[in-house]
């Protein structure tokens, strides 16, 4: 049987529920621009009803069931995966952009231009073999070209070194984030054992996992206490129980190399691949210079008694033989050092190396062209991939936002709704009070 006090209680529950909803609305509004925040909602249910015999069930007001966050876990995981792919492509694009900038083509300062200057100077020498000036110019242009080349190698090696330190930075970041995830896991578990949902902590952990996806791809699953593990390339660096294995050279077994070889996304992958890519470009350029030095030297010393090598290629650096640099008259334009002054046949032969296809069936300039164009193509492909990936991720973020984002209009509308409900509940209470007043103060006196 329902008494007036029960009705008073129902109104109180209503006011309470509306106040809680209003509070959550406030929470949503204040977190409207918090990164990774999922909007929350107070789930209300009609409370257990009271049976009135012969009449039926009588409601007893509202019950606050739970505060839930609206989130699509599948989408969150997908965003993580696509985010590590994006991070991989965009980091790779950055490295390629640096390589492209170092190659500095097409300009009048790049290696291609200085190469053609070298050939031009030999051509001029072949016409003026008696001129010391022409020989000096050959030495100067060749030295300039060699310096240009060495500068290229220096800068590429510097990028390679930087990329290598960035791999370490990636690993440090991964280890730090995994540590943070572990501590959030522990707090989550403490709350879930009490049967409640730690909404904000879950958001925080999702955000940490998303941060982690910048650096690497990984798998993650939560256990019954909501603790997420982290598995990178098949190696469990964080277990559900909270055991952390830092990624470094001292890892047990071949776990370290398994991670380094097995990682498929994130900036770690980009840096690892970038390092290999730079190594490959450096090898190619060095091979190019070694072959060129070799060919020039053969042409310059062939059949000469006491001939001088023109170029030296040591430790990956190209230089003009220092003997020739000191004494340009050692540049040999003719058959040998006793040949007539006007003999420019050797210089002409060296100038004609420009047309000789001695590098995998390509001339020097064609080979260099193919190296630079190769970098250009790689950069273009990576840029396209990065922008496609970015569009895909934008789309997913929009979907996430559609589910979990805070809409201010919606919150304000809810605010009005809850406020009115609160007022109405208070009104019910006021009426009940009046009724009690009638009953207590004015009945039967």
């Amino acid at each position: 049987m329902s008494g007036l006090f029960t009705s008073l209680h129902t109104a109180k529950k209503g006011m309470n529920a509306q106040q809680l909803s209003l509070h959550t609305t406030g929470h949503n509004i204040s977190n409207a621009s918090t990164e990774g925040y999922s909007r929350q909602r107070v789930e209300l249910k009609a409370d257990r009803s009271f049976p009135l015999s012969g009449i039926g069930q009588l409601g007893t007001g509202v019950k606050v069931d739970a505060v839930i966050r609206t989130v699509d876990d599948f989408l969150t995981r997908q965003i993580r995966e696509e985010n590590s792919a994006l991070s991989n492509y965009s980091t790779r694009a950055q490295i390629l952009a640096e390589v492209e900038a170092v190659l500095n083509e097409p300009t009048d300062y790049g290696l291609a231009f200085s190469l053609s200057e070298v050939f031009g100077s030999w051509q001029e020498l072949s016409k003026n073999p008696e001129s010391l000036m022409a020989k000096t110019i050959v030495v100067q242009k060749s030295t300039g070209m060699a310096e240009n080349f060495n500068g290229l190698i220096d800068r590429l090696e510097r990028i390679e070194e930087k990329t290598e330190t960035l791999i370490d930075t990636d690993l440090r970041q991964i280890n730090t984030i995994v540590g943070n995830i572990e501590s959030v896991n522990r707090q989550i578990a403490k709350i879930t054992v009490t049967g409640n949902a730690p909404n904000d902590l879950l958001d925080q952990r999702d955000q940490l996992l998303k941060e982690l996806s910048e650096f690497t791809d990984f798998q993650s699953k939560a256990d019954q206490f909501g603790r997420a593990n982290v598995v990178i390339a098949g190696v469990e660096v964080l277990t559900n129980e909270g055991e952390i294995t830092a990624i470094d050279q001292d890892m047990a077994g071949d776990d370290y190399s398994r991670i380094m070889e097995g990682v498929k996304g994130g900036s770690l992958k980009a840096h690892l691949e970038g390092k290999a890519y730079l190594q490959q470009q450096l090898d190619e350029l060095k091979g190019f210079a070694a072959e060129m030095a070799n060919r020039f030297n053969t042409e310059h010393t062939d059949g000469v008694d006491g001939g001088h090598d023109f170029f030296l290629f040591e430790d990956g650096r190209l230089r003009v033989n220092s003997d020739i640099q000191e004494d340009p008259s050692l540049v040999l334009p003719g058959g040998n050092y006793e040949s007539p002054d006007g003999d420019g046949t050797r210089a002409a032969a060296i100038a004609n190396l420009r047309f000789e296809k001695f590098l995998d069936g390509k001339t020097l300039e064609e080979k260099y062209n193919s190296i630079v164009t190769g970098v250009g193509i790689d950069k273009q492909v990576t840029d396209k991939r990065a922008s496609n990936q970015s569009a895909l991720l934008d789309q997913m973020n929009l979907r996430r936002e559609a589910t979990s984002g805070v809409s201010l209009d919606e919150e304000v509308a809810n605010m009005v709704k809850f406020q009115k409900s609160y007022e109405a509940n208070a009104r019910v209470m006021a009426i009940m009070t009046e009724m009690l007043d009638v009953l207590i103060n004015r009945t039967g006196v």
Binding site: A32, S33, L96, E100, A101, L103, E105, P106, A112, F113, S116, F119, G120, Q123, E124, S126, K127, N128, P129, E130, G334, S339, P340, D341, G342, D343, G344, T345, A348, A351, N352, R354, F355, E365, E366, N369, S370, V372, T373, V375, G376, I377, K379, Q380, D383, D394, N397, L398, E401, A402, T403, G405, V406, S407, L408, D409, E410, V412, A413, V416
Partner: protein
């Protein structure tokens, strides 16, 4: 789909970013005047441009070679013209000297003039171009013609017999006629020996030898020189023809390069203005959409 304020924010900002990137791209193209500024803008076109640049530089080098060679050949031609004139004068003098009516004193005068002409001939044949002797074979730094130490009037050739070559296009070289021996002959057959024989015959008063064998040899010598000059003329023609082709090729490649590399300013500017309009529209729309909310209408 549920739309939230931050979705609109995010999309507006991302779209404005895209528009601004494209605007910057056009702006970069217009200010540099070039279709591409780095290989990745268009690797295929870049590769072609790279090749063309290299070919143009090669072509320019060959152009320089051709023009140098033309200068060289022109110098040779005018030197040989002078040399020919001198030899014709010598021939006149020989005929004059072979005339039986000349007195001994006359013969002496004729002989002196011939000796002067031999010296003149030597000077002309020692012509240089840019400091290099043009008729010395590969010996370009030593005067190729001089006199025999024993016989003061005997012209001798000190150069070598290798002609200089010049690259005038890829894989094509032209052989300049620089061997003086080819112009004056070698050994006993040479013009030097002949001229000193003429001087000797004049000294001896051997007019028969003068009008007979020596005059015949002199005619042959003149003919050899003329042949050389004709050959040099042929080389000159060939060089001029090649220069024409070289220039045409240069123009052709420059045109092709320009079509690949340079922007069409009118077209780019149109694209730029369209993009600028789009950008401004996105700014205006963004500003309008992002402002209002339900809050503005609740009191």
């Amino acid at each position: 789909m549920r739309i939230t304020n931050s979705m609109i924010h995010r999309q507006t900002i991302s779209n404005m970013g895209k528009n601004l990137t494209r605007l910057q791209h056009y702006q970069n193209q217009i200010s540099s005047g070039k279709e591409l500024s780095k290989p990745s803008d268009n690797p295929l076109a870049f590769s072609k441009i790279f090749d063309l640049h290299s070919h143009i530089r090669v072509n320019e080098q060959f152009g320089t070679n051709i023009r140098d060679s033309i200068g060289w050949v022109d110098t040779q031609d005018s030197a040989l013209q002078n040399a020919g004139d001198i030899l014709h004068r010598v021939r006149d003098l020989v005929i004059y000297g072979a005339n039986g009516t000349q007195s001994e004193a006359d013969l002496q005068i004729i002989k002196d003039e011939i000796i002067q002409n031999i010296h003149g001939f030597k000077d002309v044949m020692n012509t240089n171009f840019n400091g290099k002797y043009v008729f010395g074979g590969q010996e370009t730094t030593k005067p190729p013609f001089g006199f025999d130490g024993e016989d003061a009037d005997k012209l001798v050739y000190n150069g070598n017999t290798v002609n200089l070559t010049r690259e005038i296009s890829k894989g094509v070289s032209v052989e300049l006629l620089t061997s003086g021996a080819e112009l004056v002959g070698e050994g006993d057959d040479s013009l030097g020996v002949l001229l000193s024989d003429i001087v000797k015959a004049l000294e001896d008063g051997d007019q028969e030898l003068l009008s007979g064998e020596l005059l015949g040899k002199l005619d042959k010598g003149i003919e050899r020189l003329l042949n050389g000059r004709a050959k040099i003329g042929g080389i000159s023609n060939r060089l001029e023809g090649t220069e024409g082709r070289n220039n045409a090729e240069h123009l052709e490649m420059k045109t092709l390069l320009s079509s690949l590399e340079d922007i069409d300013i009118a077209e780019k500017y149109m694209e730029y203005s369209i993009m600028a309009n789009v950008y401004q529209a996105s700014l205006a729309a963004g500003a309008k959409i992002m402002q209002p909310g339900l809050m503005d209408y609740l009191r």
